[in-house]
Structures are given as structure tokens and as C-alpha cells.
């Protein structure tokens, strides 16, 4: 019987599992893709509870099991990485969607063996919101998971996009958005009921933004014959109700980062170590899927034009998570 196997690339999940259709899954797919292609051993670990202490403990466990690279998806790891990055100077850390700092936010520090990646979710959300209104939908919905920064950026971007499109079409008065955080990343019967209520009350399309909650949303949409916008990855295969998806290239960015890392002999190169990359339209890391395009009124060409404008900064999108964007359309923030 084997006792001690080692795994060189380790992923530690935040909350939820690697099939959460969100951070964990995206990062895991990246790890898997890179490791299998490059014959590295890899595995993943789940902390015992939702606390920094448990995340630190699990990172240590992964290192004990031979991890040279630890991938940590989610801002929840900020404190934990801060704690371990100096303790384990030989181990390389990849933090997605956050930057290490102390528990009381007084000190921010990214050590040389850590690389952070942030995404411009607001751009993806903007594109989706814009597309939905252009496509002809007037009664929209935003279903967020928890009110965490990434989700808020998606949501506020979505609102801004819808607003701009409405302005262009001169229909600000007609467009309305129901806006709600369901308080979790897992699907539940409550979410489904709530979405049924929305659809019955006239909502045409809901941007379902966060982990597995899209399952509840598509279930309601299927029954009501309504539509859904997916998130993070191209979800059009998951359900016929999904008209498009606000994507961010999680898996891809992990693969690219790992490639750079190993190209530099297993250490972060100087331009990544201790640094934070913010990936958006410029890096080609956000967008709508053109290969599975299903919208009729809003065409791929129109989309490409819009994307260029976002990319070159002609359209500026606020990435603030503090206050809701000021818009002309009606947004019903339900809490």
C-alpha cells in the first residue's frame, strides 16, 4: 500500500467544491489542463470550515503533500496567503480575485512568490447588459450569488450596459431591472421560486451570476419559457434557455500563469512575482461567446464593434463596488 504520494500543483477550494461552476471550477479546469498537458501531479483540497485559519491549515496540508504551486481561487484567501507566503518562500502561490493583506486590512503585501489575478467583471457584465437590451429585452433581472466584489462588479456592469443601450435606443423609460443577491452560490428551491415569480411577473431574461445558482434560474426559465444569461464560462450547453454568457477566462488565465511560472523554472518571473495582473478586454479575458451566438437582433458584428470600444477605453465602465451606478433606467434593488 502506498502511503505518501505527492502532488506538485495543488488547488485549495474556498467554499464549495470544484464543480461549483464558478471560481473553484474554473481554476480547477485550468490546473487540470496545464498539469495533464505537462505531466505534473496535481490534486485539490477542501478546508474544514470557512475560516482563514482553516484555509491556512489546508494550504499547509497541501504543502506537506508536496505542493510546489498552490492555486487559491477567491478573495477569501487574501488573509491566508498573507500568512503563508513568507513562511513558505519556496512555494509559489497563485491568488485569483484578491490581493494578500493582513486580517485588519492595515498592510497589503504581495511577496515575490505570490502572483495575483483580478478580473474586470464589470466589462463582461456591461457587454451582457448591453446585448440584452439591444436584442429587444426590456424587462431584465440580475440574480447575484453573494454580494462579493466580483459579483457586484458583474451586476453593476450589467446595469450600466443595459442603461447605455437603452439610452441609445431612447427607451430608458421602458427598461427595468430587478436586482437581487440570493445570498449563496448553491442552487436552492427558494431561488427557483423567486425566479418563477419574476418570470411570471414579466421578467424576460435574468442574468444569473454566481456558481450553481444558474441551475435554479434555468429550471424556472424552462417552466416559464423565458431566458437566462450565463456567467463566467459559455454556459449555453447547460440549457436551451441561456441566450449568452458574460465570460471571464478563468481557466485560461490559470493555464497562462502556470505556463509562465514553469517557463521560469518553477518560480514566478519578475513581472508576475509580487505583482497583480488585472485582466479584462485588453487581455482578451472577458467577453461574450461568439461561437455559440444565438441572439438575432444584436449581431456578432455589432458586438465586435462594442467590444473594441470597451477595449480601447472609449466606453468607460465604473468598477466601483461601493455605490450603485447612477442610471436612467429603473433598477429595483430587492433586498
Amino acid at each position: 500500500a502506498k502511503k505518501a504520494d505527492t502532488y506538485e500543483i495543488a488547488l485549495v477550494t474556498d467554499v464549495g467544491n470544484i464543480d461549483d461552476k464558478s471560481f473553484n471550477q474554473g481554476a480547477w479546469e485550468g490546473v487540470k489542463e496545464y498539469a495533464e498537458k505537462n505531466k505534473k501531479t496535481y490534486n485539490y483540497y477542501r478546508p474544514s470550515e470557512d475560516s482563514t485559519e482553516a484555509r491556512v491549515e489546508t494550504i499547509k496540508q497541501a504543502i506537506d503533500k508536496g505542493a510546489k504551486v498552490v492555486v487559491c481561487p477567491g478573495y477569501l484567501f487574501e488573509d491566508a496567503i498573507y500568512e503563508v507566503q513568507d513562511q513558505y518562500a519556496d512555494v509559489q502561490f497563485l491568488l485569483l480575485d484578491g490581493e494578500p493583506h493582513t486580517a485588519d486590512y492595515s498592510v497589503y503585501k504581495t511577496a515575490d512568490n505570490t502572483h495575483n489575478i483580478l478580473y474586470k467583471e464589470e466589462q463582461a457584465g456591461y457587454l451582457a447588459g448591453y446585448a440584452a437590451v439591444k436584442e429587444g429585452y426590456r424587462s431584465l433581472g440580475f440574480l447575484g450569488g453573494m454580494a462579493v466584489p466580483a459579483v457586484i462588479r458583474y451586476g453593476y456592469g450589467f446595469v450600466q450596459g443595459a442603461n447605455d443601450a437603452a439610452k441609445e435606443l431612447g427607451v430608458e423609460g421602458d427598461v427595468s431591472i430587478k436586482y437581487w443577491y440570493c445570498g449563496g452560490f448553491a442552487p436552492s428551491d427558494d431561488i427557483k421560486t423567486k425566479m418563477s415569480g419574476w418570470y411570471t411577473a414579466g421578467t424576460e431574461v435574468v442574468f444569473s451570476c454566481g456558481g450553481g445558482i444558474y441551475l435554479s434560474c434555468t429550471a424556472a426559465a424552462e417552466a416559464a419559457g423565458a431566458k437566462v444569461i450565463g456567467v463566467d464560462v459559455d454556459q449555453s450547453a447547460e440549457s436551451a434557455t441561456i441566450i449568452t454568457s458574460a465570460m471571464k477566462e478563468l481557466a485560461n488565465s490559470v493555464v497562462l500563469a502556470l505556463t509562465d511560472l514553469y517557463a521560469n523554472g518553477g518560480k514566478w518571473p519578475a513581472d508576475l512575482g509580487g505583482k497583480t495582473s488585472v485582466l479584462g478586454a485588453v487581455e482578451g479575458c472577458v467577453g461574450l461567446p461568439t461561437a455559440t451566438w444565438s441572439m438575432k437582433n444584436f449581431t456578432v458584428d455589432e458586438y465586435k464593434t462594442l467590444f473594441e470600444k470597451v477595449k480601447n477605453g472609449e466606453i468607460s465602465i465604473s468598477n466601483s463596488t461601493d455605490a450603485a451606478p447612477a442610471v436612467a433606467i429603473t433598477v429595483d434593488y430587492q433586498e
Binding site: A1, K2, K3, A4, D5, Y7, N43, Y44, Y45, R46, S48, E49, D50, S51, T52, E53, A54, V56, E57, T58, Q61, K65, Y75, D79, A103, D104, Y105, M146, A147, V148, P149, G183, G184, S188, D190, T321, E335
Partner: protein
């Protein structure tokens, strides 16, 4: 006489040990089924990980403290004839109160802990009063109060901006503020134990829990109050006949039971590691009190060991990763609890092998020894109907 007690206690412990050993064996079989290559190492880590290093042991103690409290909560109610399935709700409300006093009011940890106790007590009080005055089954009320507690706490937290992490500089508002940034004095003192154990998990909460368990033991076994409470649990009519205020005692039992669970919630969140997350599912820690109480045969001292044991093998179970799903340990625990249900049988069998000393004082025709009562008596779920009670 003393011998008799000794051997009876010995058989009880032996029966538990047998349940545990058989449970582990079944766990080993599971490990073999799922991944034979690592089974031996896996079993090894289950049984030894908790002692393998000081920080792992600290984790055992850290998890055990709230488990002892919820176990005591359930066990105490059992002893007084009530089934408090509502420890989860009381735990949640206790946690909430502790955090409010810590974050909103900026008070020191021991005040917060008292507040937690109060919160749990209130959440036990209502089902208690419904049972005592209106004869509403405490099982149904406490199930409902689990949800009510959860929803109420979430509702309040969402309307108390100061409580949430984003108010204290964090970027998220799905959870309460980290005590480290909001109010370090609300964190249960570590007294240098964290250095000693090389683990931030370590603080004095395990000692608090053990002291409370001993206090509960003394109340139940040595004090007239405990005598009254147990009498009410066993036979309400007889205790009324004996001049005991049974209604008051039912309420008090639930209040104490709730307070214990509330302290559990306080201890867990005041350790400063976990932040309360606003989710819509009931907290498992409260439910885990039930198996702890059962394994500990509802005795406060037994509960200490049961909680330590369950926490210990949970830590071992974490270490099964990544070769196994850590949920396997839950299966093993469930099997152990299930087997402990057989303790009656095991004890009878053992009783035949180990002759108990039944030195009769004045035997009535050598009357037989009474059958060993099942670990938990008087768990009449659902019997709302009550006879003879005066209105």
C-alpha cells in the same frame, strides 16, 4: 455496592469502545472499497492524526469546545425528558448575540459570551414556555425555531451595517466583520496557548466548555435542582405530586439547554477564526450536538469525551485528503452512533460474560436485576397528549 457501580460503568464504557472499534473497522472497509492503495495509511491518519502534532491537537480541542456545548445542550434536555432538536437555532442566536455585543457594542469577550448565553436561553425559553403552558410538543417548536432563528439573525444582520465585514474595510458583506479588525478584545483569550501549541486555533474555550460540563454534572447529579429536573423528565405527574413546579422546570430546562447551545455558538465565533456567514442553511454544529449527546449517553462527563472523540477523528478525516473525500469520516461517525444504539444488546451480552456483583441487601426472592435502561430515556418525541396536568 461500589463494585457493582464500577462494573456497570465499565460495561458501559466497554460497550462504547466496541461500537467505536467496529465503526472504525467498517470505515476501513470503506477506505479499501474506494481506494485500496491508501487504505492503511488512511486508517492510520484517522486514528493518529489528532495526536500527530500540537497544532492538530489544538484543532481537536478547538472543534471539541462548541461540540461539548451543543452536546450538553441536547444531553441536558434529554436528562430532563425533553428532546431539544433546536440546539442549532439556539446556537445561531447565541452566535449572533455574541457578535453583536462584540462588534456593534465593542464589549469584551466575556460579556459577549454572557450575551451568547442569553441569546440561546431566549431561544430555548419560547419552546419551553409553549410546552409548559400550551402543551405544544417541543420537537416541532424547536425545529421551527431553528429556522426562525436563522432567518431572524440573517434579517437583523442585513439591517445592521456595522456588523458586516465591509463596514470594517473588507470588500464583502456576506459575513460578519472579522473580530481581529472589529474588536480584538472580543476574541476569547489565548493566554499564550497558541504559542505553546503553535496554532491560532488554540484558546481557553475548551477549558470553559469542560468547566461548564462539570457544573452541569454537579447540577444534575448532586443538587436538589437536578433531582427536581430529572424527576420532571422521568415522571411529570409524580413530580407535581411531590410539590415540584413542573411547568417552571420544563421552562428552566429549555432555558438552560438553550443557554448551553448559545454559549457554544459564542465560543465558536468568539475564537476569532470563523466569521458568521449569512447563508440560508442551518448550522451543522448544532445538529452535531445530538450524536455527541447520544454517544456520551447524555452524561455531562461522557459528553466531554464524546465531543473530543468526534472532533479527534474529524481532524483525522480531514487528513484523508486528497486521496479520499473527507465525508468518509462522517460515514464512520454515523456508523459508530448507529452501533451505539446497539449498546443495550452489547451490554446484555457483555453482562453475561462479566458477572456483575449484585450483592443484594435484602433480596426479594432473588429478584432479577433491572434491565439496563437505554442510554437516553424519556425521549418521547411527539407525545403532546398529557394526562392529569392541572391547567
Amino acid at each position: 455496592m461500589k463494585n457493582y457501580f464500577k462494573s456497570k460503568g465499565f460495561i458501559t464504557v466497554l460497550a462504547s469502545v466496541i461500537s467505536i472499534v467496529v465503526g472504525l473497522l467498517i470505515g476501513f472497509i470503506l477506505l479499501i472499497v474506494f481506494n485500496p492503495a491508501y487504505a492503511v495509511g488512511g486508517l492510520g491518519s484517522i486514528v493518529s492524526k489528532g495526536f500527530s502534532s500540537s497544532d492538530k491537537f489544538a484543532k481537536v480541542l478547538y472543534q471539541a469546545a462548541p461540540l461539548i456545548m451543543t452536546g450538553l445542550s441536547v444531553g441536558f434536555a434529554f436528562k430532563t425528558g425533553l428532546f431539544n432538536i433546536g440546539a442549532t437555532g439556539q446556537y445561531t442566536v447565541g452566535a449572533f448575540m455574541a457578535l453583536v455585543f462584540g462588534i456593534q457594542f465593542q464589549l469584551p469577550w466575556w460579556v459577549c459570551l454572557l450575551a451568547a448565553m442569553l441569546g440561546g436561553a431566549i431561544w430555548g425559553f419560547i419552546p419551553g414556555i409553549c410546552k409548559a403552558l400550551f402543551n405544544v410538543n417541543e420537537v416541532i417548536t424547536s425545529i421551527m425555531f431553528n429556522w426562525l432563528g436563522l432567518f431572524m439573525v440573517n434579517l437583523l444582520l442585513n439591517n445592521m451595517p456595522v456588523m458586516l465585514a465591509d463596514h470594517w474595510g473588507a470588500s464583502n458583506k456576506d459575513r460578519t466583520a472579522a473580530l481581529a479588525s472589529a474588536n480584538p478584545s472580543a476574541i476569547i483569550p489565548k493566554l499564550g496557548l497558541n504559542e505553546l501549541f503553535h496554532s491560532n486555533y488554540m484558546n481557553i474555550s475548551i477549558f470553559i466548555a469542560i468547566i461548564i460540563a462539570v457544573v452541569i454534572y454537579i447540577i444534575l447529579e448532586k443538587r436538589t435542582f437536578g433531582y427536581e429536573l430529572k424527576a420532571c423528565g422521568f415522571n411529570k405527574d409524580a413530580s407535581i405530586y411531590a410539590g415540584i413546579n413542573a411547568k417552571r422546570n420544563i421552562v428552566l430546562s429549555m432555558v438552560i439547554s438553550g443557554a448551553l447551545a448559545g454559549i457554544g455558538g459564542g465560543i465558536y465565533y468568539l475564537s476569532g477564526t470563523a466569521q458568521y456567514t449569512i447563508v440560508k442553511s442551518l448550522l451543522a454544529m448544532g445538529f452535531n450536538g445530538i450524536p455527541v449527546a447520544l454517544l456520551g449517553a447524555s452524561s455531562p462527563i461522557g459528553i466531554i469525551f464524546a465531543a473530543l472523540f468526534i472532533s479527534y477523528i474529524q481532524v483525522g478525516g480531514e487528513a484523508l485528503q486528497p486521496e479520499y473525500a473527507k465525508e468518509i469520516i462522517d460515514i464512520i461517525i454515523a456508523v459508530i452512533i448507529y452501533l451505539s444504539a446497539f449498546s443495550l444488546l452489547v451490554k446484555n451480552i457483555l453482562g453475561k460474560f462479566i458477572k456483575t456483583d449484585t450483592s443484594n441487601v435484602n433480596a426479594e426472592d432473588k429478584a432479577p436485576a433491572p434491565p439496563e435502561p437505554a442510554p437516553v430515556k424519556a425521549t418521547e418525541v411527539g407525545s403532546t397528549e398529557e394526562k392529569g396536568g392541572n391547567e
